[in-house]
Structure formats: C-alpha cells, structure tokens
C-alpha cells in the first residue's frame, strides 16, 4: 500500500552505512525526539538457550556495584502485549505476519515506556534480545527483509550489541541438559517434520545463519559463547568498561 510502488528507501529503512548508536534506525518516533539523552543502550543477542540471561544478570550486578543505574528489558516482556502474545501462541491462528506485528507492538511498547524514559534518565539499559531476534525469526519464515527493517525503523540503534555466538551442536547439548526443547524454539510451526530434535536442529541452524548475516550490517560484537560463563562475562565486562569509561579502560577489572 505504498504510494510509490518501488521498494522503500534503504537509507530510511536502516542500512548499516548510516546507523548511529543512540539514534533511531529509520524513521523513528516523530513525537519522541531522543537526541542527547545520557543513557546507554546495550543489547545482548543470541539464540534460545545460549546463556543470555545469565550473562545479563552478572553484568547488571557488576554495573550496579560500579554505581550505574541499570534497567533490564526483554523480548515480549511488555505489560501491554505479554498476555496477548502468550494467548496467540497457544492458539493456532497466528501466521508469520501477525507474529511479526505482535512482536513489533511489544517492542514499541517497551521502547516508549521503558527504554526511552530510561535513556532520558541516564540509565544503562540492558536488553535481553533486541530487534535482531525478530529479524532473524521472521527472516527464516520468509518475511521480506526490507519490510522488516522499515518496520523496525522506530528502534534505537544500541551503543553496543553483543552477539553470543554458538554452534548448533553445542546449543543442542546445552538446551537438552537445561530444560529440553520447546515448540516455538524448535520452529515446529514451520512444519518441517514431526520430530522435535530434527526440527530444532534445522530451525536453529537457519536462525544462527540469519543472525550471522546481520553481524556486519548492525555492528555486532561477536562473543564466542561456547566458553565458560566466567570467560564470557570477563570479555563482556572488558568491552563494556572500555565503552563506558574509556579513560580507565586499561585497568583490568575482576
């Protein structure tokens, strides 16, 4: 329903060339100007079961001890949308388009009600997943990538994006040991087969590929997530410290 039938302008849809940390990716939210807000947005990305929440919890404690105000925000956690998304997932009426739009609504709510106010007040916002999860999930389901980038043009480019990278073999072992495979994390809605193990493997492989393809475009800092919790945390802290306190970057921190 575009008045111009040609494809949307990539520059406005959020191409890597003009991404600026702390600014909107695309057309933004006109009634919420965000220039000059003192807060910092740090996104921790990675597929299901890669260890994001553990890392965020540790990072948060460390930042708070250092005196930063920290808030966390996470995918589908908006009070407005969480019940709706759960309800929609439990019924069989969701299709890829409504799936994408429900996620986007949840993100918009958190953007307006959590992330932007926190940035304005000078908080460090730790985001458990960010728009890349939505882009990856929709991408493997065949949703137009340019449309997705335009849709998420109201998102703010984080100051740091850590991508916890893992191979599918390590991931499977970890998920099985922790809690088992879940319907959606296995992409069972894609109906590639009845076997949850095979489906999980195929779906997560595609997802990992999709995340990987976004690394350059969105300036991911790729972190090898196959290592121990402590090793990963150490690397995250080092990079976060270097960003937040450039002067004290050389001083190592435990």
């Amino acid at each position: 329903m575009n008045s111009q039938p040609d494809t949307p302008d990539l520059a406005n849809a959020g191409a890597s060339s003009d991404i600026q940390a702390g600014r909107y990716y695309g057309r933004g939210i006109p009634y919420l100007p965000i220039e000059g807000y003192p807060g910092k947005l740090i996104a921790i990305e990675g597929t299901d079961g890669v260890g994001r929440s553990t890392q965020i919890q540790l990072l948060r404690e460390w930042l708070e001890v250092k005196g930063y105000g920290v808030i966390e925000t996470g995918w589908t956690r908006s009070p407005l949308m969480q019940p709706t998304i759960e309800l929609a997932k439990s019924s069989n009426t969701l299709n890829k388009l409504t799936f994408v739009l429900l996620y986007a609504t949840d993100f918009a709510d958190r953007m307006e009600k959590e992330i932007i106010p926190a940035l304005k007040a000078g908080f460090v916002v730790l985001s458990d997943r960010y728009i890349f999860t939505a882009l990856a999930r929709a991408g493997v389901r065949g949703v137009d990538r340019l449309w997705l980038r335009s849709l998420y043009g109201f998102g703010i480019a984080p100051h740091l994006v850590f991508y916890l990278n893992v191979d599918v073999k390590t991931l499977i072992a970890r998920v099985l040991a922790a809690r088992g495979m879940d319907f959606w994390e296995s992409g069972m809605d894609l109906k590639v087969g009845d076997d949850i193990y095979d489906s999980f493997r195929a779906y997560q492989s595609k997802l990992l590929k999709e995340y990987g393809s976004m690394a350059d475009e969105f300036h991911f800092r790729v972190v090898d997530a196959r290592r121990s919790i402590d090793k990963i945390q150490e690397e995250l802290r080092k990079q976060v410290a270097a960003f937040l306190e450039p002067g004290a970057a050389s001083k190592s921190d435990g």
């Binding site: 329903m1 575009n2 739009l101 043009g153």
Partner: protein
C-alpha cells in the same frame, strides 16, 4: 506506536483470513474501513506517514476505494444525535488536547479529515459526498461500483482469442 501496530496486526489477521481467500475465489470483498483509516488516524497521532505506508505495504490495493466525506460539524451532530458518549480513542482523548470529549473529538477528527484529503490525491480515492440522503449516496456508490465491475468484465473477453 503501539496503537498503530495493534491495528496493523488486526488488519493483517483479517487480510489473510477474511480478505485474501474470497478474493482468490473471485468474490467481491466489501471492507468497512481499510488501511487508509490507519494512514489518517496514525498520522494525526504523530506517527511518521511514510513509515505507516511501508508498514501496510503487505496489504492488497483495493480495486475501488470510496471515501465518504462529511464536514466535521455534521459528523459531530450525527454522532451526538444517537450516542451521548464518544469513544475515548475515537475522540483522540489519549492525545490530551482537551478534557471535553466533544471538543477533543472535533479537534482530533478535524485533523483526521485533513489527512484523508491528502489520501484522496495520493491513492486516488473516490470521494462520495456524505452530506446528502442515503438514497442519493447509494445511487452514486452503485454508479461507481457498476462502472468498476464492467471494466473488469470487459477485460476478460480481451484475453481470450476471438
């Protein structure tokens, strides 16, 4: 933004379940409001115009779009005649322009009408004056619809060898 996106979600659901299947079957689909409502309403709420258009780019472009235009005063009078309480969002009360629902409605819907006027040009909406009687309006609508359907009927024999 959430207002805009929730409506888009609802629209996508209706498009895929209620609009596309009958179109595929060759039926005529009558849509009471379409994406244009979102374009007008969301822009009035301060959402980026181009963003909303790109958001709805998954929608099917209608073969015929009718816009029933009415002056804001008449709109208010008609609504007040049969309904005392204006709906919160319909009156744009969320924008906080006025605490008086009727006043807020007038301001908000007045701006929405301005947005519709932009859309008439941009998307070639057929304007039907909604000031006249129902019978008069229906006559115009039937004229436009039958014209549209005949155009489609003419195209079919063209594609077949004589």
């Amino acid at each position: 933004m959430t207002f805009s996106l929730l409506h888009a979600t609802d629209f996508a659901d209706r498009l895929l379940y209620k609009i596309i299947p009958p179109l595929k079957d060759g039926m005529i689909v009558l849509a009471d409001r379409y994406a244009y409502t979102a374009f007008a309403r969301d822009a009035t709420r301060g959402v980026d115009r181009q963003w909303v258009r790109e958001l709805y780019s998954f929608a099917v472009r209608p073969d015929l779009s009718l816009y029933f235009r009415v002056p804001i005063d008449m709109s208010v009078d008609r609504l007040m005649a049969r309904r005392v309480k204006l709906k919160f969002y319909e009156a744009g009360m969320d924008l906080g322009w006025s605490t008086n629902p009727v006043e807020s409605f007038r301001m908000f819907q007045g701006k929405v009408l301005d947005e519709y006027d932009r859309l008439v040009e941009e998307f070639g909406l057929e304007v039907v004056s909604a000031v006249g009687s129902i019978t008069e309006q229906q006559r115009i609508v039937r004229g436009l619809v039958s014209q549209q359907l005949q155009i489609n009927h003419v195209e079919i024999p063209d594609e077949q060898p004589a």
